[in-house]
Symmetry: C2
């Protein structure tokens, strides 16, 4: 994967396990074991995912006794959303097209 910040962010989001970890962290900080619990993968695999998320700036990690609590950092999501917002006009216009299409359908078959 490329090393520019947006690529790292999108790359981190391109994995359902990592997105699920972010979703869990939206409910508050959690330890690595707590984050791992819902998944059928080993702790080292989770550890790697956390490193990817950390590199993307999507989480930060503290130190408390023997635990290393993770917390959500959403700033990169703001950046990513900002990048996408440039295209908003396009999906809004395609929504308009869908809307028009639905209207046509709801008018019933032309005969």
């Amino acid at each position: 994967m490329a090393t520019d910040q947006l690529s790292v962010i999108f790359g981190a989001l391109a994995d359902p396990t990592r997105r699920a970890i972010l979703a869990r962290l939206a409910d508050g900080p959690a330890t690595v074991n707590e984050l791992a619990e819902p998944f059928a993968i080993t702790l080292p695999a989770i550890s790697k995912h956390l490193k990817v998320l950390e590199r993307a700036g999507l989480i930060s990690r503290g130190r408390e006794k023997q635990w290393r609590p993770c917390r959500l950092e959403a700033e990169p999501l703001r950046e990513a959303t900002e990048w996408m917002s440039r295209y908003r006009q396009f999906w809004e216009s395609s929504f308009d097209k869908l809307d028009a299409h639905l209207r046509t359908i709801l008018k019933g078959p032309e005969q």
Copy 2:
């Protein structure tokens, strides 16, 4: 990469060449050679990128004589933005934190 739709979308966006292609397509449809022109990579590489973008639903392709014009399809970007919007409160609140931090700094060093 995982095969769920969001993963495919984010995976497609996790490459600067592909994001540049989308940016170019925001100015209107283009042929493969037109899209390839700004890049120092071969045509087959561009062809692969286009396939990734197509699989993510980010572009669609027509057929006109010997050309296969590409056009932007922004609907997946809407989906991705929608997914991220769940976290908006977090980046807004961390902006608040930054704001507060800056205020603290601007008050000058406490002594």
